[in-house]
Each structure stands twice: as structure tokens, then as C-alpha cells.
């Protein structure tokens, strides 16, 4: 495969597209699929065939990846290749609407189904998701048509591994799995590490409650991740890669499996890639549903076939990882950022975002929010703009209370801090963290003590049980939080809870335990009055806890308005 051959494929695909008068794109990613968009696609295909035999106009129905707005599914986007800028997005399309949609092609759009989401799409800056919803994820040629694999060929034929690492370093890309470790620095460490065999691992064990960014990328644009991994392998000198995906993502696994085969068939994986001496291949490994396997050392143990438990670091995987060899582990989204950086240059990427957090970040916007779905925004955008602008705010006239970021390792951010531009540092400053990108919006029907209890229960059941602070500490903290929620706790219990938070945070073996107290600490920081109401007055203002919501005569005015 050479860049000329790539261009030829792109031209062929493009010519085929231009040959059809209309394109009907149906989202067949998991969100819309759960609303039977596969049947919808079949119905559209059948109807389009009938219509074209009548009108002579050619209509191509394509199953695509995620279009972002998962709650409004099934989504259908109609466009005409001749007029690239006119497209109509339909939301909530069902089989009964098929005739109407096909009949409207070339004429007036079906007003009833049209989604008016200018607000949702403007403000986003799609780099990772640039192809999501535009290509058939199971067709490698459609990825190539949109510039795919140019970056790999560029890296292999024009750049030294050192130059690739330099580009990644200069771009300012940081780990998108949550920690925010500079990607270029990690690559450079692995490339310098001594070892005959090196590995590249893609961490797709996304397990945070309410997060589905990686799943969407794997389902909607799998080739992008493969290309990113191949570039990384070239840069660090690895010849073998693993994609670790949770088995709960069957569609992502199926698409990735077929995508790997397509890439091999095109000569983009295997030996002598693009006519060079570079050899690289990828295997899929399935996670068996343990959250802790998202931790890199536990993930490595799991790939090795051992019990998925973390081990103390150092040594870091960059020095001694998979089978004691130097190993590069990055998250799905990190790898997905790599091809555009190599293709368009580090300066372009570094021009987006804030001083220390460059580029864009994909968030899974969920909870009490109008536009549930995936958004990709440039770093530095204030949380308020994401939630009230792109997200459309809190529905049903309820009042916004807090937004939870970073999953069980993160924290809750109240309204008064929503104007802060989003970045790794800013979120940590607020007692939360970037995490992998879950963003759960909560309104006044959520009790913050109960939220903390929920996340503590999650950490308790997902603790691997290896180290005592995490194993027994989370269980003790969960018990104390339950006591508070039940209105049976004392101030001494709260002090004990705070003390345990400190101990578990500082003595746990891995990131799971170290960050398990964060939801408690951040809700204590911003919503301590809610804890006090439960303890002093057996009062849950949201009315969700077992202690009840009986009105409290002796609440001071200040406490009530707090």
C-alpha cells in the first residue's frame, strides 16, 4: 500500500458516492440499534430500491456509526452528494416513517421528524469523532476516503520514529483515559526502554458508570484506533499490539474484529506494512467485566491470563509491562487522536485548547440533561456552555444541582464553578477529575449523600480485594454512608468517614482505591449541609433517602437556603 494506492481507493469510493443521487445514513451504533435501527435500515433499503425503480434516482442507504445524539435515536441523516452542504437530520425515525422519508428525497424534508439541533452541533469541534456517523464502520475504504491511513503512510515513509514522538509531544496530547499523562513523554519512555520485544496496548476497558465514549469510537470508527496504534508501534518500536475491550461491548468487539481483518487484507497490518520493514499486528483481548482491569497493571495481568489485579508501580509498564517487556498503554481516545495529529501537524492540534490541556475531549453527556449523547468539545470550554449550551440544559423545569465528572474517581461540581474552563488541572482543582469523559448532570431530585453512596458502592463491588484499604475501607465507608442516608449517623460517624477517606486515598495500592474517596470528598466539600441535614434532622431534601423528608421545624433559614 502506497499513498497513491490510498488516493486511488479514495477516488473510487468517492466516484461511487457521486454516482448516487441521495445518501440515507442510518445510525447503527448501539444507542440507535437498541431502538431497532438495523430493521429501520433494512426497511429504508427496500423502500429506496422500490422508489429508484420508479423514479430512476439512485439512493444509497448506509449504516453508520454514532451521530452523537443517542437519546433522540434512531437517527437518520439524508444528504445528496451533489449538494454537499445540504443535509437533513431526522430524529426518532421508525419503520412506519420509511415511506415518507424516501418519498421526500429531492423535495421538501419531512418536517415532523426533523431534528433542530443547531445548538447541539455548533460549539463542538470534532476530531476524534470526525468520521462517526459519516462512514460505514465496517468498510475500511470509506475510512480511507476520508483521509484514513494517510498518517500511517506519512509516518512510515517520511518520518523517523523520533520525529513521530516529537510531533506527539509538541501537540500537547495527554492521556485521555483520565490521568492526563503527557502522551509524547510516555511514548518516548517506551521507545528508550531496553527490550527485544515491545508491546502496544489499547485500553478499551471503559467501565465508568455513564461513560460510553470509547465504545462509540470503537463502534463508529474502528480503523482510526488501529491506525493510531500502528503509528504508536512504529514510534516506540513495538511489533505486537493488543486491544483490550470489555466483553460487554459485543458490537465494538465484532466491528473491531472485522476491521482488523480488513486492515490486514489491505496490507496495513502484518509484515512489510506499506512496503517498509515495519511489521505490526493486533490481537483482541476481552475483559471479563472487572472495572479494575482498566487500571494498566491489572489490565496487563488480565492479558497475561492472570487474575486481574494491579501490582505496585514502579516499575511502570513503560519499562516492565506485558510479560515484563516495555509496554505502551494508551486509551482508545488517545490513539484516536494520533492520526489527525500526524496528518495535520502538531501545531494545528496545539492551537486548540488551553495552555496545558490541548486538543479536544469527548464527553458522554448523561443524566438530567436534554440532549443526552456524545459531545466533543475543545478544551477550555466552560462547563456551563457544555451543559446549558450544547446539552440544552436540565429538562422538565428542574433546577441544576451538580455535574459529576470522572466517574467513581471523580467528583461533583456545583453551579458556582460552572464557568471554569475545562482542563485537567481545573477539574482536579475543583476536587474532581477529567476521567475518561463521563459527565452526569444532576438536578434537585438527586441527593448528594446518596450519590456519594452510589459511587462508594460501585468502588466497593469493583475493588479487586488485593489491598486492605480499598477492600475493607470502601466497605466500611459504604456502611457509614448508608448509615447517614438512613438518618442514623452521628457526627462521630462523619468524622470517621472523613478519616477513612484520608487513609484509603493515601494508602491504597492502585488508582481505584486512591480515588475511591473522591465522590465523598467532593460532595462533602460542596454539599456538607446535605450531610448535616441527614445527620442532625433525618432530612433528605431530595426525598430519595430512607431517612425521609419530613419538614424540619428547627432548620434555620440559612440552612434551608444553603
Amino acid at each position: 500500500m502506497t499513498s497513491e494506492e490510498l488516493l486511488q481507493i479514495a477516488e473510487e469510493v468517492n466516484a461511487e458516492r457521486q454516482a448516487s443521487d441521495f445518501e440515507v445514513n442510518v445510525c447503527v451504533a448501539l444507542g440507535c440499534l437498541s431502538q431497532h435501527s438495523d430493521k429501520l435500515k433494512d426497511a429504508l433499503t427496500a423502500e429506496a430500491a422500490v422508489a429508484s425503480s420508479r423514479t430512476g434516482k439512485r439512493c444509497h442507504v448506509r449504516g453508520t456509526g454514532c451521530m452523537g445524539l443517542c437519546a433522540a435515536g434512531p437517527l437518520v441523516r439524508v444528504e445528496s452528494p451533489a449538494m454537499a452542504d445540504t443535509q437533513t437530520l431526522y430524529a426518532g425515525v421508525h419503520e412506519s416513517d420509511v415511506k415518507e422519508v424516501i418519498a421526500s428525497l429531492g423535495g421538501k424534508p419531512v418536517e415532523r421528524l426533523e431534528a433542530h439541533l443547531e445548538q447541539y452541533f455548533c460549539g463542538q469541534n470534532q476530531i476524534v469523532l470526525e468520521n462517526s456517523g459519516y462512514i460505514d464502520p465496517e468498510k475500511i475504504d470509506e475510512y480511507i476516503e476520508r483521509g484514513g491511513y494517510q498518517a500511517l503512510i506519512k509516518a512510515l515513509t517520511e518520518m523517523t520514529p523520533q520525529a513521530v514522538i516529537e510531533q506527539i509531544s509538541k501537540s500537547g496530547l495527554r492521556g485521555r483515559g483520565g490521568g492526563g499523562y503527557p502522551t509524547g513523554l510516555k511514548w518516548s519512555t517506551v521507545s528508550k526502554a531496553v527490550g527485544a520485544q515491545k508491546y502496544v496496548i489499547c485500553n478499551g476497558d471503559e467501565g465508568d458508570p455513564g461513560a460510553f465514549m470509547d465504545r462509540s469510537v470503537l463502534e463508529s470508527d474502528p480503523q482510526r484506533v488501529i491506525e493510531g496504534m500502528a503509528i504508536a508501534a512504529y514510534a516506540v518500536g513495538a511489533s505486537k499490539g493488543y486491544i483490550y475491550v470489555r466483553a460487554e461491548y459485543p458490537l465494538a468487539v465484532a466491528r473491531m474484529t472485522s476491521s482488523l481483518q480488513h486492515a490486514r487484507r489491505r496490507g496495513l497490518l502484518g509484515n512489510n506494512i506499506c512496503g517498509t520493514t515495519f511489521a505490526f499486528d493486533i490481537e483482541i483481548r476481552l475483559g471479563a467485566g472487572a472495572f479494575v482491569c482498566g487500571e494498566e497493571t491489572a489490565l496487563i495481568a488480565s492479558i497475561e491470563g492472570l487474575r486481574g489485579q494491579p501490582r505496585p508501580r514502579p516499575p511502570y509498564p513503560a519499562v516492565s509491562g506485558l510479560w515484563d517487556s516495555p509496554t505502551l498503554i494508551n486509551n482508545v481516545e488517545t490513539f484516536a487522536n494520533v492520526p489527525p495529529i500526524v496528518r495535520k501537524g502538531a501545531e494545528w492540534y496545539a492551537s486548540i485548547g488551553t495552555e496545558k490541556s490541548k486538543g479536544t475531549k469527548v464527553f458522554a453527556l448523561t443524566g438530567k440533561i436534554t440532549n443526552t449523547g456524545l459531545v466533543e468539545i475543545p478544551m477550555g470550554m466552560p462547563l456551563r456552555e457544555i451543559i446549558f449550551g450544547i446539552g440544552g440544559g436540565v429538562p422538565n423545569g428542574r433546577k441544576f444541582k451538580a455535574v459529576q465528572t470522572g466517574g467513581p474517581s471523580g467528583g461533583c461540581i456545583p453551579e458556582e464553578h460552572l464557568d471554569l474552563p475545562i482542563s485537567y488541572e481545573a477539574l482536579i482543582e475543583l476536587g474532581s477529575m477529567m476521567g475518561s469523559g463521563g459527565m452526569i448532570v444532576m438536578d434537585d431530585t438527586s441527593c448528594m449523600v446518596n450519590v456519594a453512596r452510589f459511587f462508594m458502592e460501585f468502588c466497593m463491588t469493583e475493588s479487586c480485594g488485593k489491598c486492605i484499604p480499598c477492600r475493607a475501607g470502601t466497605a466500611q465507608m459504604f456502611q457509614l454512608l448508608t448509615k447517614i442516608c438512613d438518618g442514623k449517623a452521628s457526627h462521630a460517624d462523619l468524622d470517621l468517614l472523613k478519616d477513612l477517606c484520608d487513609v484509603v486515598k493515601n494508602t491504597s495500592l492502585c488508582g481505584l482505591g486512591m480515588t475511591a474517596p473522591n465522590p465523598v470528598l467532593s460532595t462533602l466539600r460542596y454539599f456538607e449541609h446535605e450531610y448535616m441535614e441527614h445527620i442532625d434532622h433525618q432530612h433528605c431534601r431530595a426525598g430519595v433517602c430512607a431517612c425521609g423528608t419530613k419538614p424540619i421545624a428547627d432548620l434555620t433559614a440559612a440552612e434551608v437556603t444553603a
Binding site: A290, V292, R307, R311, P312, P314, M460, T461, E462, S463, C464, G465, K466, C467, I468, P469, R471, A472, G473, T474, A475, Q476, Q479, L496, D499, L500, V503, N506, T507, S508, L509
Partner: protein
């Protein structure tokens, strides 16, 4: 001429000490009579860094490090005892005591228990946390030994000695988190398992979780010191 030895000099608790490259802080500290409490560590077994008792402070790092796996480095400044560490160690011990059922007066290991002596050496006077007292089984199916899950602290010494020294790998851990449980083979009764009856696991168990049926009450000293010698002799072969 023998290979040059890479010596690292470091400071532990204000004392200038030296160690070979590759040695752990725990090893060097103990060579210099600086005591660091441990539970999951045992000379002769691989390290897992799980009990967190041996955490130490290293200058210029906000993080604490388990000294059993922390390798010595040139110029390192380590603190093994501070009010903060003492508080953490005490709380960790409280978590151990409250996790299952550790009532010393009725335990077979009373007086020979490492959890008990750690609590004494760390000055633990009471447990603030509620005892969880889960309902756990006692496996007395083995003809010579007993497994009492209620006394188990999941240090995995038995797992390691069986896999690494005896080579049988009878023991392992099942489930996760607070539900973690020691199992023989694929969760068989110990007496029906592939156990070789060597008794190493009983000797290395720090508490009364694994004990010898022939011992009475608290008359159950354990002798785990055979391990380093055994390793040395094997390596010499």
C-alpha cells in the same frame, strides 16, 4: 575478577545506610535494625505489596511507597516512622480487625499471631470501626489442617508458598473486593483438593486462619523461617 557491585547509599530515618542495587528499602532497613511492620511480606516469597503496613515516606514525593517493593536508589531519603504513618498503620490494622472475626482470646494463634503482634507494636488500643462479622465457613475437611476463613486476612502468603515453593498451586483467591475468599483448587473442600499435605501454608500463615489440627488451643507457634534457607539450598543446586 567478580562483577562490580552497584552500591547505593541512602538515608533511612536519618541513618546513612547502603544497599546493593535491586535491594528493597525494607531489606536494607532490616539489615540496619530499622524495623518496619509487615504482614503480607515474608522472606523467601515474592512480594505483592498488598497489606500496606510497610508504607514509608520518601522525601520530595507526596505518595507513600510500600518498602517491600521499593528499590533503593542513590540519595533517597526515607522515613519509616512518623505520626502520619503511625495513624495510617493503626487504621489499616483496624480495618483488618473489623473485616472478619479476630477475637484473640478464642483464637488458635493467640500469642503466635502476626496481626496481634503488629497491633501491639503499633500501639493499637481499640478499634473504632464496627466489626463486620460476616458469616464464614470453617473448612475442617483436611485430615491434618483446618482453614478458618474468619481469621484470614488475605495476605496470600499461603497462595504464594504453595505456588512458588511447593509448586502445587492449590490455593488461590476467589471473588473480588470484600467478598474475596481463599479457595483450594476450584473451590473444593481442602480435604478433597490436590493438596500435597506439606503444611508449608500453615507455617507461613500469619494468623489463625490455617492451623494444625493436632495443636491445642493457643499452643500453635509457626516456623516460617525455613523459607529463605530452602530457597538458598535450591538455588545452590
Amino acid at each position: 575478577m567478580s562483577a562490580p557491585v552497584d552500591v547505593k547509599t541512602l538515608v533511612i530515618d536519618g541513618v546513612n545506610v547502603s544497599g546493593r542495587a535491586g535491594q528493597t528499602v525494607l531489606e536494607v532497613a532490616r539489615e540496619n535494625n530499622i524495623s518496619i511492620p509487615t504482614l503480607c511480606h515474608l522472606d523467601g516469597l515474592s512480594e505483592v505489596g498488598a497489606c500496606r503496613m510497610c508504607l514509608v515516606e520518601v522525601k520530595n514525593s507526596p505518595k507513600l511507597f510500600p518498602s517491600c517493593v521499593l528499590k533503593v536508589e542513590e540519595g533517597m531519603e526515607v522515613t519509616t516512622a512518623s505520626d502520619r504513618l503511625k495513624h495510617y498503620r493503626q487504621t489499616i490494622l483496624e480495618l483488618f480487625f473489623a473485616e472478619r472475626n479476630h477475637i484473640c482470646s478464642v483464637c488458635v494463634a493467640n500469642g503466635h499471631c502476626e496481626l496481634q503482634s503488629a497491633a501491639r507494636s503499633q500501639g493499637l488500643t481499640h478499634v473504632r470501626l464496627p466489626y463486620r462479622n460476616p458469616l464464614l465457613d470453617v473448612d475442617a475437611s483436611h485430615e491434618r489442617f483446618v482453614l478458618d476463613h474468619n481469621r484470614c486476612i488475605l495476605c496470600t502468603r499461603c497462595v504464594r508458598v504453595c505456588a512458588e515453593i511447593e509448586g502445587a498451586h492449590v490455593w488461590d483467591i476467589m471473588s473480588r473486593g470484600i467478598d474475596s475468599m481463599l479457595i483450594a483448587d476450584l473451590h473444593q473442600p481442602w480435604g478433597e483438593s490436590s493438596c500435597t499435605r506439606c503444611g508449608k501454608c500453615v507455617q507461613v500463615c500469619p494468623t489463625g486462619a490455617l492451623s494444625d489440627k493436632s495443636k491445642l488451643g493457643s499452643d500453635h507457634p509457626k516456623y516460617p523461617e525455613f523459607l529463605p534457607y530452602l530457597n538458598m539450598m535450591r538455588e545452590g543446586q
